[in-house]
Symmetry: C4
């Protein structure tokens, strides 16, 4: 049902509403991450000790906020280049958004269990799925000619390769040590610069 | 109070705000579905077992996310075809949205209780109510001449008939077996294609 | 700081953002009402009994959803008639919105405690405060000349008088019987029509 | 990556989406503050006593709602003066928003623990961090020439100095008495007027 011909007059408005639904969802998902932090409910005397145990949850919160923020920036750039939508794009977008909205669950697991591999593995798989779904959105928009004339989605193969390497590598590492798995994610930043040089691609 | 004559100059703006309230509500309702998933809070050693018990909740989450997404697409298509609103439309829309916003409750019931008929029956009744309310919105817009000139709401009788058949049928089946009731919902997809052929209607 | 002279060029945009903040808040407050319903977490065999105890919460949910919806309609009509904003309007609006956002608390109390006067009294006071704050917004907009030329806020004195009578009367009645207090709220609808005839005012 | 030259044609739209993401986040953060209030779940006979214990939570709610509202007003004024965005501004904005979205946590601590210094100190540090991040946003927008021609961010050095003095002073005071620390925050209002006279600056 791709609208490859003339764009109907209300397409701009429709795209605007998809934008607005997606934006709303991104900002709500980002804000709901705060609910993954269990505010201590202890006798007043034990408060200081209980506050220490908030630190892993806070770290998980900031990691997930950055994830939502970065995916939102990419998604927003992408939607800004579309000239039309079709039903497959809308469906793919909903699937992508359903995973964005689910992010508080792996975040809460990550913040609550320090010494298990499972939360790190689940979180890494989650990021890989989100990244693959965004790629699928880009791919469909290109092949169904939904981009506005003269627009191209910045490939950012360096960024994608960096995210994939760092998060895929963290899965086996998490079984050695959950902390080691999480540290591995930080590698995405330097790796991106390395890959950008190798590929000669411009980072957005 | 239907404005059947000339549309006052601020109607576009007003419709825009109803759109924005509705969109906001849809995206928040979709995102709040994540709260229907109880993230396990168990000793670290029992984590893997507890994660297995997340699966029914995750399934219920994705079903409800699809429900919100599909109703949002229909609602958004509908509002895009209006030229004006009236107070009955606003009221009907609020009633419809109050059921959309309530969806986390049947979703949580569905994910938490595997072996009872009640959650499946409640969920199916919920979908039938949502579907009937959307039909009532369409019906009122048509009879009060609120549609923009030349616009018609795609009937999608095939889709409605498929949803009604599958969800109504699931109610007696849930008393035989809750799982059987849920599987029955999947029938909505093939049924829609069958009905579309029978009715010769185009599916949106 | 009322801008009574020429409206600066970016006022429309600013008003748009206040609109958007307010709309967002209204739709989130409406959606968060669902969190005031405690989804039963009982052994599977006790589910049917536990579902019965959901009914007062559901009733409270629909009452509060209607409250948010009606206040939103009035607020939205009001903002559609403004030509400019000033800092006092922004402050009053924030105070009003802080009470809208607080509505889940009296809603949860109302749904959870059936046989106490306190929740009914708190809820009624809440509605009176919201109604007074909205009146204060209207009053300030008029006296600071913030309305667009030729625009007037529909007085709806009948509606206000009906809400005030029904909710003020419910406070002493709640001490006789909490249920009687709640039934009294329903009087707002017929009272509005009576007052509308008496005052000769048009209901919006 | 500052776009100091000609503004690309889609910058307005992009800024609009950043606005919309930020606005959404502010209104959701404001609304989620209600979740920091623990609605009492006690036997019906103990309700009146339990309602008294809601008061500190309500106070913390209104303080935080005012904080979100005031920061939103400043942020909204600021974004209204931008002609373009760059990636550093987007990143700083996300960091700022991640702290806005985190506000329910210190709010819940403040409302739950009456007699400890830690919640007051955490809350004060939080406000200082938010204030510093907003200043950093302003500073970057100025130095990267992102402001629209002829626009200047109102310095409000008086306001900033008042907030900094009152909240920084409250930290040592909280160790003397948590209540004294909180009362100290109220000083921000009179201090602002004093500083405004001293600096001769106009308060927004």
């Amino acid at each position: 049902m791709a609208e490859t011909g003339a764009v109907p007059p209300d397409t701009g408005r429709r795209l605007g509403r998809v934008d607005s639904f997606s934006d709303g969802l991104f900002s709500i998902a980002a804000t709901l991450l705060v609910l993954s932090i269990d505010v201590p409910n202890v006798p007043e005397g034990d408060l200081n000790g209980a506050l220490d145990s908030l630190l892993p949850s806070l770290l998980a919160y900031f990691i997930s906020f950055a994830v939502v923020g970065l995916f939102w920036l990419r998604h927003h750039e992408f939607f800004g280049r579309l000239r039309a939508s079709d039903s497959r794009l809308a469906t793919l977008n909903l699937v992508f958004l359903s995973f964005i909205a689910l992010l508080p669950v792996p975040t809460e697991l990550l913040g609550r269990y320090d010494n298990s591999a499972a939360p790190v593995v689940i979180y890494a798989v989650f990021i890989l799925v989100l990244s693959a779904l965004l790629r699928a959105l880009f791919h469909h928009a290109r092949s169904a000619h939904l981009l506005a004339p003269g627009q191209e989605i910045p490939a950012d193969n360096a960024g994608a390769a960096a995210v994939w390497s760092a998060f895929a590598l963290s899965i086996p590492l998490a079984f050695v040590s959950p902390d080691l798995g999480m540290y591995c994610w930080i590698l995405a930043w330097p790796l991106r610069m390395v890959f950008a040089r190798v590929f000669g691609a411009s980072a957005p």
